[in-house]
């Protein structure tokens, strides 16, 4: 038996008649990258939001390391180590890279009112480490709003790292980073998996096939297949439902 770190059971979310999540079951094993693929509007982001806590499911559970976290809010889930990146990069735009990452490093603890946050060497040193690991060394003093698209993606990953994550939930981290950027990003994600398992929503099939241990395919809110990369690649139903669209 592999260790299951995160599991989602019988999760459903309807928007009126639209089934955004239709009895979804998906899990994440220690050390793996589990890719979630599916056409636009399949409900991938909606699923990530429900796991991260930003959206309440109509029914179903989210279990992290054996603990039912379904009733917890986003902040409480983050404290337990659910680290997410957003499909549209979401950082504090007026802050520098360093300020953003220190914000994540300090988290909810030690919100002292007197000493300057960035002067706390413990915070800054850790933050610089995460920044370097995310490939942003030398960009610490740049405002987030002045970063390139790809750099902002990296900043989100640095912030996710700073949470000492148990699980990464990454919603299309390669969207818009360009061809060259996606090779770098693939390498970075391959590094992150040593930190915590990754539930990866991604459209870039080359990246998915090279990174993922398992793949789940989501169509109209339903998981139609879960399996090892090669099985999914060869799965005819998947090709019809999804890959066929692109090819």
């Amino acid at each position: 038996m592999t260790d299951t770190v995160l599991s989602v059971t019988n999760l459903s979310k309807f928007f009126g008649a639209l089934k955004a999540s239709d009895n979804v079951n998906i899990d994440l094993h220690a050390g793996e990258i589990h890719a979630l693929i599916g056409p636009n509007g399949a409900g991938k982001s909606t699923l990530i939001k429900q796991i991260a806590g930003g959206m309440r499911p109509d029914k179903g559970e989210v279990i992290l390391n054996g603990q039912d976290i379904s009733a917890l809010d986003t902040a409480a889930r983050a404290r337990l180590g659910l680290a997410r990146s957003f499909q549209v990069s979401s950082v504090a735009a007026e802050f520098t890279v360093l300020q953003n990452v220190v914000l994540a490093v300090q988290g909810h603890q030690n919100l002292g009112m007197w000493r300057a946050a960035l002067r706390k060497t413990a915070f800054s040193d850790q933050a610089l480490g995460f920044i370097a690991r995310a490939g942003l060394a030398g960009r610490e003093a740049i405002r987030a709003s002045d970063l390139s698209h790809g750099e902002r993606r990296r900043l989100e990953l640095a912030m996710a790292l700073a949470l000492r994550p148990k699980v990464f939930l990454l919603d299309e981290p390669m969207a818009g980073v360009g061809l060259e950027g996606s090779a770098d990003m693939t390498a970075l994600l391959d590094d992150l998996r040593h930190e915590a398992p990754i539930l990866l929503v991604e459209h870039d099939m080359d990246a998915v096939f090279s990174l993922a241990d398992r793949i789940s395919v989501l169509v109209y809110g339903r998981i139609i297949a879960t399996g090892a990369v090669d099985d999914i690649r060869n799965d005819l139903e998947v090709q019809r439902a999804y890959l066929g669209d692109d090819a």
């Binding site: 809010d73 504090a92 914000l103 988290g107 960035l118 912030m159």
Partner: protein, 327 residues
Amino acid sequence: MQRETWINLAILLGLILVPLWAVVMDEPFTITLTTKVVILALAGVGLNIALGYGGLVSFGHAAFFGVGGYAMGVLASHAQSYTPMQIGALEVEGTKSMLIIWAVAIVFSGITALFIGALSLRTSGVYFIMITLAFGQMLYYFAISWPAYGGEDGLSIYVRNGFPGLNTLDPIQFYCICFVLLCAALLVSARLSSSSFGLALHGARQNAERLEAVGVRPFKLRLTAFVISGMITGLAGALFADLNRFVSPTMFSWHTSGEIMIFVILGGVGRLFGPVVGAALFILLEHWLGGISDFWQFYLGLILLAVVLFARGGVIGTLAGREVAHD
């Protein structure tokens, strides 16, 4: 040093030199005017923590200004009439001691802010503006219908309250007290802004979703900021009442809330010295434009409109450029 730091030092120097000049030239009115600037700046420094750092557009800060004012008025009026207050079965003496009055003003405006904040911070945007406005007006009408303390007419205090070792009736000495308190509040504001708490507060203003994703709930942060903000504005209210030796419901009115907001916007929202510049400019304009035309508020409105439209970041923002990350 950054340009903004130089500008801030220049402003501080101005607040030292102007009254000094006034003493030498024997111009007590100028000292009084500068004292008013400093006290209103203090009220603005308070609001700036909520509005500038937290992004909480409070249109009800007159509530705290007024609570501070009435803390002074009530305590001093009992002291001057030698009648103790009756609080239930308890008899409490009034006082003419500034130190005690400040403490009471700070505590009561803090409690008021805790109450108003706990209710209004559950909303955001226009609703937050309207609810804070409504609370301010509630206190305004309460003060009007409170005959024990002057009702609509307000309360006169005959002698300025005392401070150990100083003659508070001497304008320059009272000015010094107010100036030192303003400096203290600016120090608190600066430390708060760059602290871990401040980083999270600024973060919540920019992106609350992101803050939750790193495990921080914005509500508690904002409420804390709102209370600190209210306490500083409350202290300013007590000083303002002492300056005029008079309190009235006007201190609670939405005009007052609006004026405090104007100081912050005029000077630069979220800039440490924004409220100081804003208050100074406001008082100068009121003084000059008021001498030129009875419709000075109309011209003030035009100037404010120009600042909001063309000088985003207010005076400080225009002079110092966009904010540099503090270390």
